[in-house]
Symmetry: D2
Subunit: 386 residues, 4 copies
């Protein structure tokens, strides 16, 4: 299959998956923004569509007519180069355009893209389309997080439906790696983001890394042992964070008559001790590791070991700050704002989660969140120096 045809298939699949994720929602669920990090589903739908319109159709599709001039303002996220936009904290105020019109906008742009893709042959443009597909896949994952947060904060704990369940981890024990030089980063032979590029060598000491994620059961013990009450386990900022926010357990956990329950997309459920723990901040992950007498891996240790690990259910916090690789270069223009400008005060997460789009994961992938974030699907993998 030539690239052109392949892109059409990928594009259709991607657009369809977004619709599938939204299917169980009520119209009302598309609107709220319960906290600044969480965007309304409607906004994700509009924004991923605007991306194709602004970066593909408008510049390259001759005679393309914008669906609506206002939409660039409504659905631009953070691209300063692409003009003014609704400020992030105000996304939940936009009742208009109504959902059905955003759906119509999606159909209009999908249609135009398919028309355009049937004729395009410029590799540079195809690169942007591929980026747009990956961009929408990233937003699909955020959509799942945001839907869970919106529904999980309804006093009635509504059920979303099947999908995105975790299974008990099957791996066992620790994998040991030798000290030496390891190749880190993408070789550039297939799609990747700018932040993965510039393959380079990193020297690692001898270390061991667990083959499984930490389970809910192990986390029960951490809590029962006073993990949230012993400041010696915590970073100073982390300790302040859990005091200020009154955090005593992972997000979505509730203790009822001595037993732990959690909100899940399948409703309110008793917690399975065999499943991996999720919805913890970096601070909690690190405190748990400290309590265990171990540490979190660096992102380089993770990548060097990844082929021997059992991964993919949850993103994994690493003790690596999100910083540019030595030869990092950002793209020119608005797409240069994709990654580089966020490289401060965030931590890298490696792996993938049950909400990650199929084929969207790879061992060089660098995800990143602030240390206090808890609504994304992240867990804990332990490591130790040898």
């Amino acid at each position: 299959m030539n690239r052109n045809k392949l892109l059409q298939t990928l594009f259709k699949t991607c657009r369809q998956r977004t619709s599938t994720i939204c299917k169980p929602l009520e119209v009302e669920d598309y609107i709220p923004q319960p906290t600044i990090d969480v965007s309304p589903p409607k906004w994700h739908l509009g924004h991923t569509t605007w991306f194709f319109e602004a970066f593909v159709l408008q510049p390259y599709f001759k005679d393309y007519r914008l669906y609506d001039n206002d939409f660039a303002y409504l659905f631009n996220s953070y691209y300063n180069n692409a003009g003014k936009r609704v400020l992030r904290p105000n996304r939940g105020l936009m009742s208009r355009p109504p959902v059905r019109e955003v759906m119509a906008y999606r159909d209009y742009v999908t249609e135009a893209m398919l028309q355009f893709l049937s004729q395009v042959d410029d590799p540079m443009i195809m690169d942007i389309v591929e980026l747009g597909i990956n961009h929408e896949e990233q937003h699909q994952e955020l959509l799942v997080y945001d839907i869970k947060y919106i529904l999980g904060n309804q006093p009635t704990f509504p059920i979303y439906g099947e999908g995105f369940e975790l299974k008990p981890e099957t791996g066992k024990g620790f994998v040991e790696l030798k000290e030496g030089l390891y190749n880190i980063g993408a070789d550039g032979h297939s799609f990747c983001y700018d932040n993965e590029r510039g393959q380079h060598q990193v020297y690692l000491g001898k270390y061991a890394i667990s083959n499984t994620l930490v389970s809910n059961g192990a986390y029960f013990e951490f809590i029962a042992d006073g993990g949230y009450k012993d400041f010696n386990l915590w970073l100073s900022e982390g300790w302040d964070f859990i005091q200020r926010e009154k955090i005593k357990a992972p997000l979505y956990w509730h203790q009822l008559e001595g037993e732990w329950w959690q909100y899940t997309l399948q409703g309110f459920q008793k917690i399975d001790p065999n499943q991996p723990v999720q919805h913890i901040s970096f601070y909690e992950a690190l405190a748990f590791a400290e309590w265990k007498g171990m540490r979190l891996p660096t992102e380089f240790e993770w990548e060097a070991a990844a082929s021997q690990l059992n991964w993919g259910q949850l993103w994994e916090w690493t003790y690596s700050a999100y910083q540019p690789y030595p030869d990092f270069e950002k793209a020119p223009g608005a797409l240069g704002e994709y990654n580089g400008k966020f490289m401060i005060n965030q931590n890298v997460l490696r792996g993938a989660s049950v909400a990650t789009a199929p084929k969207h994961s790879r061992i060089t992938y660098r995800n990143f969140f602030h240390a206090a974030c808890r609504w994304h699907f992240a867990g804990i993998r332990l490591a130790k120096s040898l």
Copy 2:
């Protein structure tokens, strides 16, 4: 018509009017809470219904089955005596129950109330029903304010439709009143709120009060003369307020190429200089009066003069703090929280507006808002001592 029958008619009319006000809305418009003072329309629908359920049906209608046990929690506003509730700033996060279910809740309670009203004869219960109707009428007015605020903050300025338009004021000149004792407050022969009761005498000096509200045209002059730039016209708090919020004109006003436009429920329109100015804070009203070399009336001056005035298009800021009348007594139980607990740091407004329910206004009525509020339908009437 006996009271029982009358209440049935009033009740039906009232419930119907709420539906009529909401008719032009999209489902999405029922959800957002763009600022803490503005409640989502869905919340008003649920709350006014809950009021009848909690204070009439549940205590007095034998065998009544609650529509849903969770709704008391979702739709209680501020009645501490009536149990826990969703905190005010979180009303905009509730996508569930969906609008159609709140409508079903309304129908269920309306039906039950009509059944109940056909048989009730206890005057005390009928008093509560009457209060409930008046309560819903108050929320109808807030609904209109809140709908205007939600739509007026959409970047696309959507049209709501006909209704609630202002006309140019027709009165002329000033009415003069003699010094002396005036009766203030309700005599208790017909429905009124607890805050109006306890008719008492107030001594007023000689004064004059304008027969018309201040017009947009006069307000243009105030702005053009630097009214928003001269601290000598402002209360200290008012001056801080307009600096901090960068306020240079009434809410919903926009200056385009030297001309003033405003968002209205009929869309974005050029401002008519002959209509009364609205959407100004108490601070702005007072600064305008100061600029004119006059003052605002007290609530007593307003009431003493009301029968000679041309009023009803807009609520009118008075320079009277919202405080209890000498013999103020609050009702026992949860309904005692209706008014008294708000009697601090608010200003009384008198009159009525185009959004006030028919027959809901009277000259003893005491409305109240914080001095900085601007989203309600309020204007300026001038007075001066003689």
Copy 3:
């Protein structure tokens, strides 16, 4: 004695009293601003001096040389008409000029004023001097409050020394007043502030007013009876205030092994149940009255009864908003900012306190504070309608 000579005496006495109040302080105590309402003592010393320089010496004393051009900027409080100034929250950052230089500034201006007063005969200027003396006396009272707050927030509770002690109240029972018209406000025959002027009639219903302030002992009972836990006793804002600030007793109170202690200017002491309770907010005063089944007087009820009351130990919260009298007129220029611009969202207090300068009190005096203030010397007098 002619007015000119009298003013010299009053001026000297006043300047001396400020020094006496500051005598027990360490140099370090002159600097901190522990909360925005509390000004550093150094600032009060400079500001009261600047007032005479800016409003008397500079405009009227020929050939007067400003002590330092920067001081107007440093020591102006809120007079927009008198130029730029250090913002209120930053007063505690000013370590310079050092205290000894502010003292030198005081001496320089005192000297110049005495020289000037020996020759002045213009009554208008003498009026400003009299205002300046009263202004400094007001700041003396604030100085005492602020010193107590600064010392009372030291972890070591240092002793200030003798002065400003309360005695048990000696009066008994309630005074009854007939309904009718009462004269309110100053007749203008002796010094008063602009906010007291414009004597006018107010009609009052029949009422009784206590001859004593509420005692600590009575307040113990209020606390023991759950007064701080029963929302029905509180204004809505007051209830939010005590929750947010975690208030469970008057300011400076500490419970140690079941007994109540308080910080006083004489050090940390066991609370005397016979002394009047002080350091309570308006919210607490009102909740106490509600608990007692009574109410607070209005400022008019207080003034009408004052000649029959035993008052002067503590300012007394009234349930009257601070608003202009019917014929209120503010002075032209900067002195017009003295009172009028604060007439919103504050409550009137009547009486005087042990920290009030001798001869500074009178029955028409209108003091005012925000309902949440607690660091000033205020107590509770009860009233009831008959």
Copy 4:
């Protein structure tokens, strides 16, 4: 000289240097805390003294009598293991104990330490004394920053006096380094902090690093070229930071009639274009580098090149997050809180400044500040990959 004698000399020199730094201060300057990061000089004096009392004298000096039981509470900084303490934002409220008493406390502890040091021979205790000396030296540097901030925020810009001046940089051009493995971290043969320990190999690509810091002159060009107005040069957080704080130049810079002036410890001066630029945040350093088409070095690149560089006037921002070295271990007990708990959301700075104590600097030293900090003495060194 044996270690025991050496420590006595180092201790005396260190204590003396603290006094010398404070000599030009007025008593009043010891009190304010103008922003949360800046501690009052009095607090530094007490805290460095408390460190010796709490970690040396109290546990190890037989029969030592605490100077004052309250001082541990007043002068503990952040050691949770060492008990309760005054919260950081409240340090500026403490007028008591007065400065002279803190000086007496210093003398008392200095005396006791000298007595103790004359007899001690346990190497573990001598290690803690050495840490205490280094700790006080760190606070000496903070003292200089904080004094500059306190004086530089006086409206009168007072002169501190001689000391801590910058000179024009003398180096030229770039130093080139080969790719390969470099040893990073301290070998443990002489004093260092726990965060430097665990020497390990790091692989670096080929790079060049400037031999001089960026000058004021170069920074003038950056500003003149619109550096503060082009969002493409900035990290997203950095751009938000300069918008929110309205930052348009380094801290202490003022533009007067087209020329740049700055507050220095020698007073208000015209800026010398040949001196290195200082008082810039990490965000500004990075934006400058981006504008130059270069980047900041990592802390490893800095350390690998340090022996060939001309350094020591200003700390240098690196693009390395402050994270633990692979074999990082924290000390047991309260001293374990020294460094490790701050290893999140901070950036490493390397080098030293004119305010660093003599012999306190070394090429493995890891200083760290939040990206937004600007009051410390930091500058910019450029690097580029080859």
